[in-house]
Amino acid sequence: MRTLKKISPIISYVFTVLYMIVAALFFSVGNYLYIPFIALALISLYDGILVSSVYERPNELTAKNDKIKYLVYLCVSIVSPISFILNLIVYFKRTDETDEKPAYKSVIAPKPAVKKPFFKQTNFIIVIISLCLILSSGFMGMFFETSGFSVTVTDFTLTKEMTENYHTYDDDVIKNDSLHYGVTMYVPNNVSAENTGSTVIVMPGFTRTKATMAQYAIELSRRGFVVFTLDPNEQGASGYVGFDENGESMSYTTGANGLYYLIDYIYTNTELFDFIDRNNIGLIGHSAGGGNVMDAAQHFNRPLADYSKSWIKAVYCSGYIKTSAANRYSTIYANAAMAYAYYDEGAFRYQDDSTALEVISLRFVNEVSGKNNGLTAYEIDKEYGSMADGTYRVIHREPTNHCFEMYDGLSIANSISFFTSALHMNTSLAPSEQIWFMKEICTLLSLVAGFMLIISLSGLLIANVPFFALAKGKRIINGAYVDEETLSAAVDEPELLPPPRRRTNYTKILFWSTFILTAIIACLDYIPLAYLSIKWLPDAAGNKFTTLFPARMVNAILLWATVNGLVGLILFFGTIFIENLVIKLRAKRRGEEVTLDWSKFRPLKTDWKGLGVTFLLAIILFCVFYGMIAFNYALFHQDFRFLLISAAPLSTRFIVTWLEYIPLIFIFYIGNSIRVNCGIGYEGWSETKTTIVSAIGNSVGLVFILIINYYCFFSTGSPFYGYFGNPAEEVWLYINMVFALVPMMFILPIFNRLFYRQTNRVYLGPLVTCMIFVMMTLSASISFMPVA
């Protein structure tokens, strides 16, 4: 019976989630049925709370009024049919509830730890394990990136001076000193001046760095190709284009995002790059990178107008169908492949007679080497033309979406097949035999270990270095300060501790209402704020170089974080105020003395000294985290990443950008820490429950953005958040950022909780996570900061 009583409210909560999901689905397709489903969700939630409160306090059912109340709760639970059945069983089998557990367990004070020498402490052991894990996974990452050390991977910076010394075309010289490019080169060990290698240059898309395209480099280089990957303008390790004589921003994609400069440089520099087979050079790019590789093929091949003389013999354009010129494809004079994800979210923009994928695809197979083949239809995956004369064309549509197309095994296999044939590579490896994801797993382990390192190092420093212990406040148990002496005594006599806080139905409903409200606000305001970021910060949105919030895509997150941080803080302090107001009014009604509960504010209490030490500790942890990345990168050429989530070595441009973004975004992080540690952490739940609820609360709004967007997409073909406003502005790319934000927002409260448990204060967690997460977000995006 006791189990049924536990299960019933839980099932009500599950129904709440289901109803919310269904409401989101209806909302996404503009069906007003979402309103009753939200109502059902709320009824199910509140009824679950009320029913559970009855089960927790069976003795209160003696009064007639209470029995009627219980019956009402029971009837309302019909919205969650399974709970209703369980409640009925409980009701009709109700006996004297003498075996019920007390509503609240008495809290036994945790035994103060006997201080061990630092090298025997758990945190020290975790620090050592983390370091070992970072180094070993870095080594293994290098092992997979170099295909078992059969490929040499090196970085170099392409500078203005280098292009001045080596170029064929004057256009291919970098114009501004501010512009330079981060390049990574993969050279198989069997390639030499005598045995030159077919070469492929890999181009990432908008807001992506070269490291996000490592999978292509790994798979091609292990098959014998020399591979170059390049950070596009203003992204990763590359510089910014700069200003013209009039002080106006030059085109931010100048030189096809640097591709022209790199191709001309390596093609012309026959001494340094004597291992390149200049008759077999290919290009591959994804999204905007796909546009860049088509531009580059035209740029170098069109003047020659003859495939046998073409510099670029093969070009693979993935995720890009925007054609800004008539006869775009007929002048590339190269074998070509086009891939476009079947579920590409950006396709909704191209839905007319001149821009639709079908029209572009037909042009792609028709417009070849200055001629038109006159085909009236085409087939996916069918090969057209001949590799021998550069007229080969093929179109692929992999069953994936835009931002994951570059991580799709089939997409990578298609590109391998294409280059193997087009660039005459002999390899025994089948295209489907891929190992790149092993490198991703290794760098993911590094990322996890990096986080483990800073958390355990923080604990170690606070516990063993008196200076850092200043960051620590008194321990708080059941909402009251407890010093170490009381705690020691309470181990034997728990009654010395303050009594646990009692949660009433009213406070529970208030808590869950604010929980749901903040999630709904976080879900609904992201895209409108992304749109406002375009309007309020037009320079960055217009791709102009500016010192005012220059990270165009992160500006959406900046506004979202600021607004939701403020909303969270207002709701948190507002609910405490309301709770106390109700206590006051009730006490007044009963003629009792008022004892207001301000205990939730206690983790906020600190002094300037404590705050200073906390800040210093946060900076040290940030430096250790990024120091380890730099060390790992220098040693093994590995950063910390998993697919789109990454922590890469720092660059000056992004540090300057980061300094600008930190203060505003910190509002969100401190708000989260306060809500997690002062709000959710005070519900009297177990640590696991507190952490899970906090993590879900912080990420569920963003998850619902994805649910709404993609349900609409899969049922109508257009994403819910495609255009916004009137006249319509494209906002679909902002959704891509949510994929990386969701895991970050999920782990943020966990970190805040862990740091809180070390310090009993709310500050260290948000300081460390804000610094690291904002840097991770910025460095994986684009910044128009005019700093070289």
Partner: protein
């Protein structure tokens, strides 16, 4: 016994949850569906008694779904037996230009989308008819089009409306009546340049268009009579005003707009 009851309860609960979820989702739209499209031409046949019967002759077959469009076939012939020119493919058998909505008409070699046919599909099948007739364009007293993508054109509805209101005042001074001025229409066109060009050409009644760039003809495919380039609109440079149709009022309006283009600059 208690454990077994709980297990059964758990299984029943999971099944019920799943069933409940599916039931709740039932009114929701289903995912990807293919709609088969048959393009037909109407053929008139006369029997021995002189009776004329109309039959359909299948010309091409394709399909669409939410992620795939279909490129429509070329016109079966430039003209029909009566000498009427090919107008396009229509979902409506008796499509009449000038009366029926242009959204029911599709260009030869253009595309047709799932959204175009979804409301006309019966058992996931629709028929497209080859329409032969002269195109009828209903002209307003004056139609002013503008490129609605503000991030490119610098124009928005408020800015253009204010500009056209000033134009109306001028036209009134020049003798236009209130009734005529009520028939001055403003139309915003959104999308990339080629999309806008196609929409403008499909409408066919725009007299003057504002806010396009230099590629109005090359990319947009809009044939103009005269244009003024290098204008600033809403802070965006290299915008143009183009005259697409020659009439007395259109010419008068175009000249005034060129002279007063500075009103659109900020």
């Amino acid at each position: 016994m208690r454990g077994a009851t709980l297990k059964i309860a758990a299984i029943v609960a999971i099944i019920a949850l799943y069933a409940g979820f599916c039931t709740a989702c039932a009114p929701l739209k289903s995912f990807e569906k293919d709609v088969r499209i048959t393009a037909v031409k109407l053929v008139e046949q006369t029997d021995g008694d002189g009776n004329v019967t109309e039959t359909t002759e299948e010309y091409a077959v394709g399909s669409v779904n939410i992620f795939n469009n279909w490129i429509l076939p070329a016109a079966p012939s430039a003209k029909n037996e009566k000498g009427d020119p090919f107008l396009g493919w229509s979902l409506k058998k008796d499509f009449t230009s000038g009366t029926d909505d242009n959204s029911l008409l599709f260009n030869a070699n253009g595309i047709i989308r799932y959204n175009d046919v979804k409301d006309y599909a019966e058992a996931e099948n629709v028929t497209l008819y080859a329409i032969y007739q002269e195109r009828v364009i209903i002209r307003n007293y004056l139609t002013v089009g503008y490129y609605e993508r503000e991030s490119t054109s610098g124009l928005n509805e408020d800015r253009v409306t204010a500009f056209v209101n000033n134009l109306k005042a001028y036209l009134k001074e020049q003798g236009s009546t209130d009734e005529q001025l009520q028939n001055v229409v403003i139309k915003g066109y959104n999308g990339n340049v080629s999309t806008v060009g196609q929409l403008v050409n499909d409408d066919g009644n725009v007299d003057i268009i504002l806010g396009m760039g230099k590629n109005i003809q090359s990319q947009g495919g809009i044939v103009y009579i005269e244009r003024e380039t290098g204008l600033i609109m809403g802070g965006k440079t290299e915008r143009c005003i183009a005259l697409l149709y020659e009439s007395e009022v259109a010419r008068l309006a175009y000249n005034w707009m060129v002279e007063n283009a500075g009103q659109l600059a900020d």
